[in-house]
């Protein structure tokens, strides 16, 4: 059970870290100054969440590793994030819609986790929840603004939706061990997460007059460590310093 929870903590941490790293790539590239600052502030929060969950993983592992070791010294096949969070940042519409999907997911996830009977997870869930509410307010407002503005903005949002939609089911993937953890009140119940997520997301897409794509290839594999090539490139950049100069500190 410790091992299962360790893997789960990695899933939470890796998802937040990859989201945070992609947002950090916007630094200096935001559409205007305030938005540049907002994107990187959300990035910092997400990296902070990753830090909390890596620390939980470290405490469960019983090894002498640190949270930084888990972030900077593991290879792509050891990462447990869904493919959605490692996708390239794309244009602003793409980043915005991806962020919205993950923000709604995180809102329900952390609401559930803050009720966990595993004390460290409950604390981390509570802390993250307060911040995710802000993230969601922002990403939702941007989805509305973009979808209801110029034809080009709307078309880019629709394009982003067509590309991203079939990456979302993987957010809710579970296995036997996770279902057991959920039954024991340790982690969230992913079936009800999915239900809540779908209701909320589909209502917004309707309001934005965006069309759900009919069918497509459904992404999977991240949770087993089978990732897209994008993660490899991301890690090569993110982990460079620790790999080239082990133990290097600022």
């Amino acid at each position: 059970m410790e091992q299962a929870l360790y893997q789960y903590a990695l899933r939470l941490a890796d998802s937040s870290l990859t989201m945070g790293q992609r947002l950090a790539e916007w630094c200096g590239h935001g559409p205007y100054l305030e938005e540049d600052v907002a994107l990187t502030n959300v990035s910092l929060d997400l990296i902070g969440h990753a830090q909390m969950f890596y620390q939980i993983a470290v405490d469960l592992s019983g090894e002498t590793k640190t949270a930084d070791d888990l972030a900077f010294l593991r290879d792509a096949h050891e990462f447990r994030n869904p493919l959605l969070t490692e996708l390239p940042r794309g244009d602003f519409a793409y980043t915005t819609l991806k962020q919205y999907f993950v923000d709604v997911f995180n809102l329900h996830l952390y609401q559930a986790l803050s009720q966990s009977n595993h004390q460290p997870l409950a604390q981390a869930g509570k802390k993250a929840l307060m911040e995710v509410k802000y993230h969601l307010t922002r990403s939702q407002a941007w989805c509305e603004r973009l979808s209801m503005s110029t034809a080009e903005a709307k078309q880019r949002m629709q394009q982003a939706l067509d590309d991203l939609w079939f990456y979302t089911p993987e957010l809710f993937e579970t296995d036997e061990v996770m279902r057991q953890l959920a039954d024991d009140g340790v982690i969230a119940d992913y079936a009800s997460l999915k239900n809540n997520w779908q209701k909320q997301v589909e209502a917004l897409l309707k309001k934005c007059q965006l069309e759900l794509p009919a069918s497509g290839w459904v992404a999977t594999g991240g949770l087993q460590g089978e990732h897209s090539e994008h993660l490899g490139y991301m890690l090569a950049e993110m982990q460079f310093l620790q790999r080239a100069y082990p133990g290097c500190e600022w």
């Binding site: 600052v37 907002a38 910092l44 997400l46 990296i47 460290p120 911040e131």
Partner: protein
């Protein structure tokens, strides 16, 4: 070096200010949570405001350096998971100092409009939900036209 008492350490740590709002101490901000003394060893427990707050490293160093300058060398600073920080932990003196510094302090839930820290007008609009740091939003006063930071309510 004087003998350490918890009250004495709290008093010394009053000199440690938030690196981003240098008029308010970490106690007033609610970051400084506990001090325990075991022989010569002093343990200081702090909590982060936002989980990604990059100032925590600077604050940890400031605490150590401030105590060291008073002769206390055996100091460890721990980041506590509990309590979870919220803006109600900011003291009234902290809020007043913030306002005098030009940052609108976090509001109570009953207040509807953020008021301008310069002229007091409540005719203000939010320009961006994130200001210079994650804990602030950027506002503009419609009366005196000054832009200002609002320390967001976080509860």
């Amino acid at each position: 070096m004087s003998t350490a008492t918890e009250a004495k350490i709290f008093e010394i740590l009053e000199a440690v200010k938030d690196p981003e709002i240098p008029v308010i101490s970490i106690r007033e901000l609610g970051i400084l949570q506990q001090v325990t003394i075991d022989g010569d060893q002093i343990s200081v427990g702090i909590i982060p405001t936002y989980s990604g707050c990059p100032a925590m490293f600077a604050i940890t160093e400031d605490i150590k350096n401030t105590l060291k300058s008073q002769g206390f060398v055996d100091v460890n600073v721990t980041l506590l998971n509990e309590p979870v920080w919220n803006t109600d932990m900011i003291t009234d003196s902290g809020k007043a100092a913030m306002k005098a510094f030009g940052i609108a302090p976090p509001q109570s839930l009953s207040e509807q409009q953020v008021s301008c820290p310069l002229c007091g007008s409540t005719d203000t609009t939010c320009i961006s939900q994130f200001g210079s740091t994650a804990c602030k939003a950027l506002y503009r006063c419609q009366s005196c036209l000054e832009p200002f930071d609002y320390f967001k309510c976080h509860a």
